[in-house]
Subunit: 334 residues, 4 copies
C-alpha cells in the first residue's frame, strides 16, 4: 500500500483523491493539505485522511511515502524541491512549474538527489489511442515518422481565456505527448493565425495552427481551436515513410436517425481522457515498487515549459522561433 499525501484540494485534487480511493490498486490517501483548511477537511472526508494546511508539513509526515501535487501552478516549485529533499516520490499535475527557470531548478535538484522521483501529470501518454499509435510506430512497420497532423478542439472556453492560454492550457498536452510519440525533442516553433471565429473575443485569437519541428526533422501541425462548438475533438495522424497511422476516435455506437448515420463526439476532456487519468495514476503507483519513473519526467516538464515559451513568443512575432534548452539533456534522464 503506497501511502499518499495530496497537496491541493480543489476540484482536480479531489478527483485524484477519489481516484486513488476508489479505483487504484495498492495505494491510499493518508494525508491531504490545502491552504484553505475547509477545502482540506472536505477532501479528507472522502478518504479519511489527516488534514494539513501546510504543504511542507505534509511532505515531512513520516507516514507519507509519496506526494501528489495538485496545488495551483505557482506553488509547485516549492513543494517539488521540498519533496525531492525529503526523497519522496512525486506526482505533479501539469505544469511542472510556471517558468522554465523553476523547472530547470527542479530538474537539477532531482539530478543531484540522484533518484528518479518526479512524474508530471501529462496523462495523454496513458491514453489507449496514443499508446496504439506509439506501438505501431515502434513496431518498425512504418519506417520513420515524417509528419504529424493533429487537432485539439474544445467546444468553447470562458471569456477569461486568452491567446497565450491556447499554448499553456491547451497545446501543452500535445507538446508533451507528441515528442514522446516520436521519441524526439523540439527544435523550432511557429504559430499561424487564421481568420478568427465569430465565437471568440478581442483577447483570444482562435483558432491557431501551431507548427513544431523536431531535431530529426519531423514536422508537426496542431490545430488549436477552443471555440469549435462541435466537441472536444482530439486527432492525431502520423505520416511515416511506409504508411500513415491515425489515432482512433473514442468508441460510440453508429446511430442511424434523421437521414444520417452519426457517432458521438465527446464534449469534455475529462470524459475523453477518463481512462487515461486512471491508467496514469495506477502506473505511477505500480512503478513505485521498482523506484522508476516511466511516465513524463521533470525533464519532460522542463521541455514542455521551454517549448511553450517559444510558442507564445511565436504567437507574437509570427516568425519561426528556436526552441533551446539551457542545458543538454542530462544523462540521468536518458
Amino acid at each position: 500500500m503506497l501511502k499518499i499525501g495530496v497537496i491541493g484540494c480543489g476540484g482536480m485534487g479531489k478527483d485524484h483523491i477519489r481516484r486513488v480511493t476508489n479505483k487504484i490498486q495498492g495505494a491510499e490517501v493518508v494525508a491531504v493539505s490545502d491552504v484553505f483548511e475547509e477545502s482540506a477537511k472536505a477532501a479528507a472526508e472522502i478518504c479519511g485522511a489527516k488534514v494539513y494546511t501546510d504543504a511542507n508539513a505534509l511532505i515531512d509526515d513520516p507516514e507519507v511515502e509519496a506526494v501528489m501535487i495538485v496545488s495551483p501552478g505557482f506553488a509547485h516549485v516549492d513543494s517539488l524541491l521540498k519533496a525531492v529533499e525529503a526523497g519522496k516520490r512525486v506526482f505533479c499535475e501539469k505544469p511542472l512549474c510556471t517558468t522554465a527557470a523553476d523547472c530547470l531548478k527542479v530538474v537539477k535538484a532531482e539530478e543531484e538527489a540522484g533518484k528518479h522521483l518526479i512524474q508530471v501529470g501529462f496523462m495523454r501518454r496513458y491514453d489507449k489511442g496514443y499508446q496504439q499509435v506509439k506501438e505501431a510506430l515502434d513496431s518498425g512497420n512504418f519506417g520513420e515518422a515524417l509528419m504529424l497532423h493533429c487537432t485539439h478542439r474544445n467546444p468553447e472556453v470562458g471569456t477569461n481565456y486568452n491567446t497565450p492560454m491556447a499554448v499553456h492550457d491547451t497545446a501543452i498536452h500535445e507538446i508533451d505527448v507528441l515528442h514522446w510519440l516520436v521519441d524526439d525533442e523540439y527544435e523550432s516553433a511557429q504559430v499561424i493565425m487564421p481568420r478568427v471565429t465569430k465565437y471568440s473575443h478581442s483577447e483570444l485569437k482562435d483558432p491557431q495552427i501551431m507548427l513544431l519541428r523536431t531535431k530529426k526533422g519531423v514536422c508537426i501541425d496542431v490545430e488549436v481551436f477552443v471555440n469549435c462548438k462541435f466537441g472536444y475533438d482530439i486527432n492525431c495522424e502520423v505520416v511515416c515513410e511506409d504508411g500513415a497511422i491515425k489515432m482512433p476516435q473514442p468508441m460510440y455506437p453508429d446511430v442511424r436517425k434523421s437521414a444520417a448515420v452519426s457517432t458521438t463526439i465527446d464534449t469534455d476532456c475529462f470524459v475523453r481522457f477518463k481512462d487515461a487519468y486512471d491508467t496514469e495514476i495506477q502506473a505511477w503507483v505500480d512503478d513505485a515498487a521498482s523506484g522508476v519513473i516511466n511516465g513524463p519526467t521533470a525533464w519532460d516538464g522542463y521541455l514542455a515549459s521551454v517549448t511553450a515559451d517559444a510558442l507564445v513568443k511565436a504567437q507574437e512575432t509570427g516568425a519561426i522561433e528556436k526552441i533551446e534548452t539551457a542545458i543538454e539533456k542530462p544523462a540521468f534522464y536518458c
Copy 2:
C-alpha cells in the same frame, strides 16, 4: 444511333425519355406511346418524337429499332410478345409480367424466336457498389459465398402499401440482384414477421425478414423495413469462406457538428440509384451493337416472379416454401 420507342409515358417513362435524350450516348427516342394521348404528347415534347396511343402500332413502326416498356405491369406481357414477334430489342421495366405464367410465356417466345432481345429493368446490377462486391467475389480471393446479410429500408410508404408489396415492390430488387451476385438460383423462401412498428397500419406487417436459400446453400437474410423513418438504406454484406465483403455506402462528407460526426443517408431510391439507372440504359444501348443481353434476361424476370410468389406464400404460411420453376433453365439462357 439506336432509335427507341417508349411505351408508357408516366413519371418513370418520362424519366427514361429524359435520360436517353440528355445523358445516353448513341440513342434517341423517336416515338412514344401512351393510352392517354395527353401524356404521350407531353412526353413527346421532351424529345421531339412521334406520338402513339397504341403500343402495338409503335412497335410496328419501322423507324423504331428498340422498345422501352414502361407501361403498367399488367400491360407488359402483350407488348413483350409483340416486340419479340417483331424481332425488336426490348428494355422492360420490372416486373417482366405480373404473373409467373405470363413471364414463362415470354421466356418461351424469346427462346423460340432464338434471339436475345429482352432486358428487364433491375438496375441494381449496374450500381457501382454491387459491381464492386461482385468483382471481389469473382476475384476468387474470398472463396465461396456462404451468407448474405442485407437491408432494404425506406423512410416511409403510402397507406395503400400492404404486406405483399414488401415482396413485389421492395424485395424484388434484392431477389434479382442477389442471385446474380452469387451466380446461383433460389431453392426456398421463408418470411419472419417481427413486432410491427408503430408507424405501420393494419394491412402492412412492417418490418419483415425475408430468408432465401440458394441451390448451392447460400443463405440470405433481407431486412425489409419500409417505414424505418431514417432513410433509404441499402446494405449488403457477403460472408465468404475467406473473408467478408460489405457494399460501400454512397459518398457523402463526414460532418462534425453538435457533438457528433455524421454522414448523410439518402432518403430516395432515385437519388441512391441515379447513376445505376444511367449506367443500365447506356449498357443496354451499347449492347445493341453486338446483339447481346448482358443485363437481367427474361429468364431472370421469370425467376424473380417465381421467387416473389414463394415469398408471398411464405408471408402467409410462416413456413419454408420451395421455389420451383416450371421448366429447367433453358440452354438458351446459359
Copy 3:
C-alpha cells in the same frame, strides 16, 4: 475487503485470481481449491491464499465471504447449492449448470434462501459497447426495438468443436446479452444451416444462423461462424422504430498501407472482452456491499440453459422450436 475463495484453478480460474489480486479494488483471494492439489498450490502462489482440494471445505471456511466458481461446468451445481446453503455470495462462470433441470434446482434453492447471492459469468453485459447500445435503447430516443442483427465470429476452432457447441460455447453469450439488451425473454428458436465452409469438418456445421424471437416479438438473427478465419468479430445492430443503433467496434488506429486503409480486428475473445471481464468482477465485488446482484442472475443462467436446449433441438429439426421455462419467472427475480 471482500474475502474470496476461488473454486477451480485452471486457466480461467488463475485469470480471475490474477484479476482480483492485481486489478480489483476492495477484494482479495484468501482461499483456492482444486481437485488437483498441484493446480491449487500453483494458483495459491499468485495471491498467497490457503489451499483446498475440497470445494465444500473452501465454502465452509469462515474466512471466505464470497465464492468464485470456475470449476468445470458439471461441478457447478454442487458448489452452487452448497454456497447458497452457506449463505455466501457467488460468482459462477458460465454455464450456471450443464442442464436446465440443475439450473432450476439452483434457482429454487436461491429463491427459498430468499437472498440474492448468485451472479453468472456472462461478461458481455459489462462490455462498454453493449452498455452504450443499452443506454441508447433505454433513452427512449429510438422507440421499441424490433430486430437485432448480430454476428459471433471466431477465426477458428479446434477439431473437437462440434455442431451443438456452436450453441453451448459460442452463441450462449448472445443468448444472455441480447435478452438483457432488449429487456425481454425468448419465445422460439430456429437454426438455419448455410453451405458449410471448406475449413470445417464432418462434425461441425459452420456457419449457422440462429434466429430467436422474444415474447414482445423482437426478431434476432445471430450469425455464428467459428472458422471465419479473419478474426474474432462481434457485431450487434438493434433496429428500432425510430432509428438503428450499431455497437462500436474496438478502438484501433486507421492505418494507411499497401493501397488500403485498414483497422485491426481482434482475434481473441479475451483481448476483445478484457475490459468487460475486469468491469464484471469489480461490479460483483462492489455490489457485495449492498447485497444485490445487478449482473446476470441464476434465473438468467436458467433461461440461457433452456434457450440453448431449444437451439440445439432446432439445429437437429430445422423447425421453429418453442422456448419454454418450466416455471414462470419468480417474483424474487423481477
Copy 4:
C-alpha cells in the same frame, strides 16, 4: 452537336478524344492536330476526324467550333491567343501557360475580346466529393471557413520529378480547387520541409507541407507527399465556425480479411478522378449553348501560375512569400 478540334494527340489528348467520342453528349471531334503527323493520324482514327499538323490551321478550320488544347504547356499560349482571336471556345489543359506573364497576356486578350471563351482543365472542381463540400459550405450551415487541412499523396514518382514539380505538377490542383472552394484568393505562401523520406532522391524534397493564406484569412495546409507508397490519397477537411466538413473518400467495399477490416485506396489519379474528367468535359460542352464559362477561367489559370511561382520561391527561401497579381481581378471575370 458541338464540333471540336483537338490540339495535341499525346496520351491525354487521345483520352479526351475517346471521352468526347464515347461518353459526352452533344459533341464530336471533327479535327485533330499534332506536330507529329503520325500521332495526329492515330488519334484521328479514334473518331474519324480531319488531320492537321498545324494547330493554327485547325483553329482556322470553319467547321471547328471549339478547341481543346492538350499540347505541351509551352505551346498553349500561341494556341490560346489564336483561338481568342478566332472567337472560338477553348478548353485548355492545365497549365494555362508556363509563365505568369503569358497567362496575363491571355487574360488580357480574352478581356479585350469581351467574350468568355477559355476554360482551364482543373478537373477537381467537377469531382463529386469537392462539390459536396462546396455545397455544404455554400449552404450557410457552417458559417465562415477558417482552415483547410489537405493531403495530396502519390504512391511514387519518377526519378526526374524534382522539388519544384511538387508545386507545378502536384499542388497545382489544390491551388485551383481550394480557392474556388472557399470563394477567395491567395495572399501568401510558405513551404515547410520535413525530414525527407528514404524513398526520395537528392533533387526532391519529399514530403513538403505547403501553407497558403487567403485574403479573408483562411489558412490552408496541404501535405504534398509524392512517394507515400500507400496510394493516391486526396483529403480535404474544411474547418468552419459552425462545424467541420471532410470530403468523402472514393467508394470501395469494406473487406474483412486477415484480422483487419480494410477499404481500398486508389493508386492512380486517373482512376480517382475518372468521373471528374467526364463531368468536366460534359459541363464545358453543355455550357457552350449559353456561351458561358462556369469552370476555371483564364483568370483562375493566371492565379494558379502566380501562386505556384510564390510557392516555388517559398520552397527556396523558407519564408512567407506574398502572392500578388500584376493587376486587380478584372470586372470581366467577376
